[in-house]
């Protein structure tokens, strides 16, 4: 059954999360993510959930880790300054394999920056913000409908891979209201294994990796007891220091996401079948790109759009295939160039790579992108 909805991106994030089973939210309001907290504070109690406004973002991230370990699907939402404060806890969640979801509605500039303006500057912070080798999953939708849909995917990935998942948005996406249709039945929810599945005298090994490098599913709390530590720990959760074990355990944490990258990546393609030129854009920029590609096609330019929705791990396998076929690639982003590094490392043939970047706090317009496309097209024409 399809029902028609009309809501703001931030509201869609909160309501989608509740639909995905989120029952705990701890956060600190910050533009442009405030509406997520606001909607959660109204809606969560109606669904038997708990909302807490914490003293800051450090405490918010710590609180959702605690709640998640106690068996409740949990999330927080913030913007750049708060996201910086959360980095320590993201590492802790990665190390302790705690499923959490952090929505980061990006604003412009470093520090307090431009609270009410749009930017995509946190792409690399999302990947490498916390210290130490670690893998991360990050999703970045570009429409309100996708926010509503992929926030559920974010919760499912957090549970399946037992990892923090960063849900990226931007100011335009967060504050824009948009109509969309949802298919209520196409919704899959991954739940925690019930503790009743454990025998009374079973020892629960929360950090036991299977041959696929995946950690055992986390159980709801109550019967089981286990040790949680940010130190390198063995399968039972207690710290260890023997070199062989440490290497094995850290590699498993890395491999559980790296080896399953192709199952995690989600992307959209538009008119790439016969494309000679490729635009890579994500988030709100992908909407501009969609329009620019249509306009360029009217001008008889064979161009396609590749829109990664999973930003981390980067959809390298598919992009490698596309880069073999096209003769130039344009990366459009509202930062000074971040994803362009990922594309650059995949550009083994050394085809023309153009960065279209804008950091003035406004969306790239279709005309600006079309101008860039036309310029690149004129440069690659072989006479």
């Amino acid at each position: 059954m399809h029902e028609s909805l009309f809501m703001q991106g931030d509201e869609a994030c909160a309501l989608g999360a509740i639909k995905a089973g989120c029952r705990f939210f701890a956060g600190y309001p910050i533009t442009p993510a405030t509406e997520i907290a606001e909607t959660m504070s109204i809606e969560l109690p109606k669904h038997g959930g708990t909302f807490i406004q914490m003293e800051d973002e450090i405490a918010s991230a710590a609180a959702i880790i605690g709640a998640s370990l106690a068996g409740v699907k949990s999330m927080t939402a913030t913007s750049g300054p708060g996201f910086s404060l959360m980095q320590e806890s993201i590492g802790y969640a990665a190390m302790t394999e705690t499923p959490i979801v952090i929505a980061n509605v990006q604003r412009g500039g470093p520090s307090t920056g431009l609270p009410t303006k749009v930017a995509q500057g946190d792409i690399m912070q999302t990947r490498w913000g916390t210290h130490g080798d670690h893998q991360i999953i990050a999703l970045y939708p570009s429409t309100v409908e996708e926010v509503y849909k992929y926030i559920a995917t974010a919760f499912n990935y957090a549970e399946i891979y037992r990892t923090p998942v960063i849900f990226l948005m931007d100011e335009v996406l967060g504050h824009m209201r948009e109509s969309f249709k949802v298919d209520g039945e196409a919704f899959v929810q991954i739940d925690r294994a019930s503790e009743s599945e454990l025998e009374d005298d079973d020892i629960f090994h929360p950090f036991y990796g299977d041959d696929q490098m995946m950690a055992s599913p986390l159980v709801t709390m109550g019967k089981s007891r286990f040790h949680v530590s940010g130190l390198v720990h063995d399968e039972s959760g207690f710290p260890i220091g023997t070199p062989d074990d440490v290497g094995r355990i850290l590699r498993r944490l890395d491999h559980k996401i790296k080896l399953h990258a192709d199952e995690i990546v989600i992307y959209d393609e538009y008119m790439t079948e016969d494309a000679d030129l490729l635009v890579i854009a994500y988030g709100s920029t992908a909407r501009t790109a969609m329009r620019a590609v249509k306009m360029a096609r009217e001008d008889k330019i064979n161009i396609g759009l590749f829109k990664p929705i999973t930003i981390w791990p980067f959809p390298a396998t598919r992009l490698r295939q596309l880069l073999k076929r096209v003769s130039a690639v344009i990366v459009a982003e509202m930062n000074l160039g971040q994803i362009v590094y990922e594309v650059s490392r995949l550009n083994k043939r050394g085809i023309k790579l153009e960065l279209l970047s804008k950091v003035s706090g406004e969306l790239i317009t279709p005309q600006e992108m079309l101008d860039c496309i036309t310029k690149v097209k004129s440069e690659i024409i072989e006479l």
Binding site: F6, V172, M176, S179, T365
Partner: protein, 201 residues
């Protein structure tokens, strides 16, 4: 493959005039009529004052780029907004002006369109309801009648979702009153060419 721009409405004023809620109600009404709708807004940090505007875009197909660089309809509620936003009006677009707060209409406007509607909406609201509060809903009634984009009924249903119950009756009357202020519907041409209507083409 023709690239079609969505129809676009900008509601421009200053913070506190209720232009964002106006846009939300209009957008919601358009959704109920089966359109694809995007609504965006811009406002400063202050609760009252400062340039503030709300854009509504709608189309029969999903909308990709969520902004518009030109508007078929501009509803100007304040002098601050009309200076900044009048140049964004499409050629032969509809310009609706609340003359309670707009003291002078830029001359260029008359070169761009003849479809200029001037009503002292807020003053009329104060006279009829004893408060300026429902002026924005009157504006929606005016937009409905002047453009034919939405129906009064759809606006009323949408209004009930966003406004507290005790004000429903007054706002329903305001929509009707605004609707009754306009005699005719203005035809807004589906765009032909896209360039800024500065009057020098």
């Amino acid at each position: 493959m023709a690239v079609r721009n969505p129809r676009s409405i900008r509601i421009s004023g200053i913070g506190g005039q209720g232009n964002v809620i106006m846009g939300i109600i209009l957008a919601d009404a358009l959704v109920s009529l089966g359109h694809w709708v995007v609504q965006t807004q811009s406002y400063g940090a202050q609760v009252r004052g400062g340039l503030s505007f709300c854009d509504v875009l709608y189309s029969s197909e999903p909308i990709d780029y969520p902004m518009a660089n030109q508007f078929g309809v501009i509803y100007a509620m304040h002098q601050t907004g009309i200076r900044a936003h009048m140049p964004l009006l499409k050629m032969n677009g509809v310009l609706i002006i609340d003359t309670s707060f707009v003291t002078s209409i830029p001359k260029e406007a008359f070169r761009v369109t003849k479809k200029i509607i001037t009503k002292p909406v807020t003053t009329l609201a104060e006279q009829k309801f004893g408060t300026p509060l429902p002026a924005n809903l009157m504006g929606l009634g005016i937009i409905a009648k002047a453009t034919g984009y939405v129906t009064k009924e759809a606006l009323k249903e949408a209004m009930k979702k966003h406004i507290r119950e005790k004000y429903h009756k007054m706002n329903e009357e305001a929509i009707d009153y605004g609707h009754s202020l306009i005699e005719r519907e203005y035809k807004i041409r589906e765009e032909r060419r896209e360039f800024a209507g500065q009057g020098f083409e």
